[in-house]
């Protein structure tokens, strides 16, 4: 019977581990994939030494070392689920050491593991934090083997300092367990336990000037970002779009965006990028949620989040706006938790290859050659260092001027002045005006950059153009000269009638006209 109970506990633990594995593999892979991208683990002695000047150096190093295996969804799922299982085993053993029976100890141990699981669902929770807890639990299980009460008490402070240096915040759990165990099992005199525990908890504060960290950081290391207990499928979906964007799977991005139907600026940003790369932006813009012109670019400013700064280079890079791409990639990296990112180092290498700056590109490739999984890519890229036919290079303007970071219209015009064939810049310029509802600016840009192109006018541009022409009372011939399809003209007339009848109420128009520029123009509230 006893045996059966134990088997049941193990079966439950195994089932939950497999569930966690499947969860991170199939339902929630992109958070872990992002964590790998925002880490750059170099296999060098300097990299190892750089961990030594902060607390939790061992768990931080081990955590980052293992995080590089998050490069595949399976790698992340295996490591997280196994670390959770290990945590459960250690907590179970700890609770057993307090005299709990096997079944309650197993059940109790599941509680902190469940919390840890939820932490791992956050955007920034590092594996090193879990390792800190594991190390603290292991240290506790070692120290309680000492049954001599004097030794138990006197060893506490040196072990505390040691664990703090190796595992950071793990000392909080370690102290709590040591305290309870000491009170219940070792020492009768409470003061003999409380005083070292209190002194121990002062150690992070005393050591903090050595590590140059703030009081809050002293107790949180290696956690650097606020904790979250949410499973955010919204972010998971955004990260899916982000991941597929990096892979250049444009139709997958569009497909996922359609499936998700998200009303989120970052999701729109990736959707619009995928539409432009598939040459569908001018036709399908309003098939997706558009919060305003901010759906085309993510700003790089003090109000931005580190993650959106990291994402913001994707559009600049593909536009050929290399100085802005470099700016946002560099800031994205510096603002990331570890101030190093494999993804952004790759992007910086690509940018410098595109602009033909071989020495700078070599620096980034050299870094990537010190990694386990980007080594091959970096070596391949070296062949492009002195190439002259780098595709993106022709998009880069040849005539100089300067602009402010958030002056996107100016930036797009500069790109087009140098290279009128830059279709993405043209789509983004026209769509910026459309999303700003700035009809005169759209018309001016259209007449300057699009009208001479021998291609069918995309639906959204036709919808905006007809408004402009209608305003100036253009003749049918003029409409025909612009090549506006009859279907759009008829649709516009129908919309105008329907809008007149609606009395400004969007509800009756939504179904038929919800995907048109006219509906957006009349009813969309622009977000900054």
């Amino acid at each position: 019977m006893k045996h059966k109970g134990k088997w049941m506990e193990w079966l439950a633990a195994g089932t939950l581990t497999v569930t966690a594995f499947l969860f991170f593999l199939f339902l929630y892979p992109y958070h872990n994939l992002l964590k790998e991208q925002m880490t750059l683990f170099l296999h060098t002695s300097d990299n190892f030494l750089s961990y030594l000047n902060k607390p939790a150096w061992l768990t931080s190093y081990a955590g980052d070392l293992l995080t590089q295996f998050y490069i595949t969804a399976a790698g992340g799922a295996v490591i997280v689920s196994l670390s959770l299982l290990t945590e459960w085993l250690l907590f179970r053993k700890v609770f057993r050491s307090f005299g709990m029976l096997s079944a309650p100890a197993s059940a109790m141990a599941a509680i902190p593991v469940a919390v840890e699981f939820l932490f791992h669902c956050g955007l920034h929770y590092p594996l090193s934090s879990t390792l800190s807890t594991l190390l603290a639990l292991g240290s506790f299980l070692l120290i309680i083997r000492i049954r001599n009460r004097h030794l138990y008490t006197w060893l506490f402070l040196p072990v505390f300092a040691f664990v703090y240096y190796l595992a950071g915040h793990g000392v909080i759990i370690f102290t709590a367990l040591w305290l309870v165990f000491g009170l219940t099992r070792i020492v009768k005199n409470r003061l003999l336990i409380f005083i070292p525990a209190l002194l121990g908890m002062l150690i992070p504060l005393l050591l903090r000037p050595v590590f140059l960290i703030s009081p809050a950081q002293a107790y949180k290391y290696p956690i650097k970002a606020p904790l979250s207990l949410n499973i955010s499928f919204t972010w998971e979906k955004i990260l899916a779009l982000d991941y597929q964007t990096q892979k250049g799977n444009w139709f997958k991005v569009i497909y996922l965006a359609q499936q998700y139907g998200m009303q989120n600026r970052v999701a729109s940003y990736y959707t619009n990028l995928a539409l432009s790369q598939s040459d569908l932006l001018g036709d399908w813009l309003f098939l997706f949620y558009q919060p305003g012109p901010g759906a085309l670019f993510l700003p790089v400013s003090q109000l931005s989040t580190p993650l959106t700064i990291a994402f913001s280079n994707e559009v600049f890079f593909r536009l050929g706006d290399m100085n802005m791409a470099q700016h946002s990639a560099m800031l994205g990296m510096i603002f990331s938790q570890n101030h190093r990112s494999s993804r952004l180092t790759k992007r910086l290498a690509e940018i410098h290859i595109a602009i033909g700056d071989a020495p700078a590109a070599e620096k980034y490739l050299g870094l990537l050659e010190k990694t386990l999984f980007y080594r091959k890519w970096a070596r391949e890229q070296r062949t492009l260092l002195h190439a002259t036919d780098v595709p993106l290079r022709e998009k880069i303007p040849s005539v100089d001027t300067v602009r402010l970071a958030d002056d996107y219209v100016n930036a797009l015009e500069i790109l087009l002045e140098s290279n009128p064939e830059n279709k993405m810049a043209l789509d983004y310029l026209l769509c910026t005006h459309i999303l700003r509802k700035d009809i005169p600016a759209f018309r001016e840009a259209y007449d300057k950059w699009f009208v001479w192109r021998a291609e069918t006018i995309p639906v959204v541009y036709a919808q905006a153009l007809i408004v402009s022409l209608y305003r100036e009372g253009a003749s049918d011939e003029a409409l025909q000269a612009y090549g506006i399809p009859y279907s759009v003209m008829n649709h516009f007339m129908e919309y105008t009638n329907a809008y007149g009848k609606s009395g400004g109420d969007p509800a009756p128009l939504q179904e038929v006209y919800g995907n048109t520029f006219w509906f957006y123009y009349h009813f969309a509230m622009l977000q900054q």
């Binding site: 000037p209 140059l212 800031l331 700078a360 880069i396 602009r403």
Partner: protein
């Protein structure tokens, strides 16, 4: 059997030891210098410099280095990765050969070629020691970021780097523009930007944090330079914007929308200036002469921004300053009319002996760090002549620079290694004005170190000793948020 094993092991050990001690037998001779990083061939180093570790840049699997002093001594290194000399031996080696040269012979072993002996290279040892510490900021290149950064002091006689302040202590804040009174670590000015912003003034043991914005000035005090007496600090007050270039060869400009020069008197907590330094033109990058009686600065005619950004060209100017009466001269002298040369000048730094002003010359604007054409120049205060410092300039950026207190050594920022990250280089100038070939700040494993770091060395400044301050007190003062205000007094 055991005996044979013992004898064999002993023989192998003896052979290795012998190999280490007596060089490499049967090495093929090469007629080139060894491909090592950093390039120390022909450089001049101060007698108190830390060991010049260097590494092979090719696929050598082992290196043997023999360093022979012209006067006396010899050091030998047999290592896999780098020529790493022991500190105590190195120190003695340099002292014994001060005023003369060291010859380094490098042997490198290759999988396919075996041992190669390269041509020896020479390093000259200047008996004049450089100031022992270098203070710099480590920051991502070129951008005004509020993330990871710090100010550090490096012992130039060893590899020890000590943090002076890191913004992990004050998250979300930026620190910049550290400055000292004539290389004296006792007096320091340091500006913090952000939520906990303020200007830290350290005079001896005393520390105060100021709000340097006054009703009369356009912003906080920015670029500092101490008066040699320690009684004044001259600052520029700048309103800036950051703009981005469109083309691939140029990247960023930071442009002044308005800028003036003011002098702060810490004792009275008053700012003084003159209408000659607060015109509608742009005045910036001030410094004092070693006698404290002249104030140098860069000045450009006003231009519409950003349209005329390429027309902003700063001249090197001077105005008299009387520290006793706290008054300025009645006119401004233009020492170097850079605008007439189609150039712009920043960072005028007079040498401690008063002979020269070293400055950065580049095409336009004031953000020389992103100008590949930016080079160092010398203005001779004795005869008004100008010369380009070709001995230290490269095809890439040379920008910020400062003098060691004895006036022989100087440090400057350069991007010659990768075009992107700024590194400190050192060189010296002798009585005849001859300038030595510069050398890179030594590191334990220089190749890995400079390739792997994501940070630029910003504003390198020499100090004669360690900056000693109570970091706990500074942090407390910063986080408490109390800032002493200062007043403006027009003279």
């Amino acid at each position: 059997m055991k005996k044979i094993l013992l004898i064999t092991t002993t023989l192998i050990a003896l052979m290795i030891w012998n190999g280490c001690k007596r060089g490499v037998p049967n090495a093929d001779l090469s007629d080139t210098l060894p491909p090592v990083f950093p390039d120390y061939s022909g450089v001049t180093v101060p007698v108190n410099i830390t060991p010049l570790h260097f590494q092979m840049t090719d696929n050598a699997t082992r290196m043997y280095v023999k360093a022979q002093g012209a006067k006396s001594g010899m050091l030998e290194i047999n290592h896999l990765k780098s020529a790493a000399f022991k500190l105590a031996q190195w120190k003695q080696f340099l002292e014994e050969n001060a005023g003369d040269s060291l010859s380094f012979t490098v042997y490198a072993k290759y999988k396919d070629k075996g041992w190669i002996q390269y041509l020896p290279f020479t390093v000259y040892v200047n008996p004049v020691p450089v100031n022992q510490y270098l203070v710099y900021r480590l920051i991502a290149p070129g951008y005004e970021v509020y993330s990871k950064m710090g100010i550090y002091q490096r012992d130039l006689s060893s590899f020890k780097e000590i943090p002076l302040l890191e913004n992990t202590l004050i998250p979300g804040n930026c620190m910049n523009c550290h400055s000292f009174t004539g290389n004296n670590p006792d007096n320091m000015s340091l500006h913090i930007r952000g939520e906990l912003g303020g200007t830290i003034i350290k005079k001896g043991e005393e520390i105060e944090i100021l709000n340097t914005k006054t009703k009369e000035t356009a912003g906080n005090c920015v670029y500092p330079y101490w008066h040699p007496s320690g009684d004044f600090i001259v600052y520029s007050v700048n309103q800036t914007i950051q703009v981005f270039h469109a083309i691939r060869d140029e990247r960023i400009e930071v442009i002044d929308l308005a800028s003036d020069v003011v002098v702060y008197h810490p004792e009275s907590r008053k700012i003084i200036s003159t209408e000659l330094l607060t015109t509608n033109d742009f005045e910036t990058f001030p410094s004092f002469s070693p006698d404290g009686k002249t104030l140098y600065f860069s000045s450009s005619a006003f231009q519409k921004i950003p349209g005329n950004y390429k027309e902003i060209r700063y001249n090197l100017c001077a105005i008299a300053f009387d520290p006793k009466t706290m008054t300025f001269g009645d006119h401004v002298d233009t020492l170097v009319n850079a605008a007439a040369m189609g150039k712009s000048i920043s960072y005028a730094r007079p040498s401690p002996d008063g002979k020269y002003i070293m400055f950065t010359l580049f095409d336009y604007g004031n953000f020389s760090i992103w100008h590949k054409e930016a080079d160092l120049w010398l203005y001779d205060l004795r005869d008004g002549s100008l010369r380009e410092m070709k001995e230290v300039n490269s095809d890439d950026v040379e920008s910020y620079h400062s003098w060691s207190s004895e006036g022989t050594w100087f440090v400057f920022s350069s991007r010659r290694l990768d075009g992107l990250y700024t590194r400190p280089f050192f060189a010296c100038i002798n009585e005849e004005g001859e300038i030595s070939k510069p050398f890179l700040l030594p590191q334990k494993e220089p190749l890995e170190f400079y390739n792997m770091t994501f940070f630029s060395y910003n504003v390198p400044e020499f100090v004669t000793g360690l900056v000693d301050w109570d970091l706990g007190k500074v942090e407390k003062m910063l986080t408490e948020g109390k800032r002493d205000s200062i007043e403006y007094r027009n003279k």
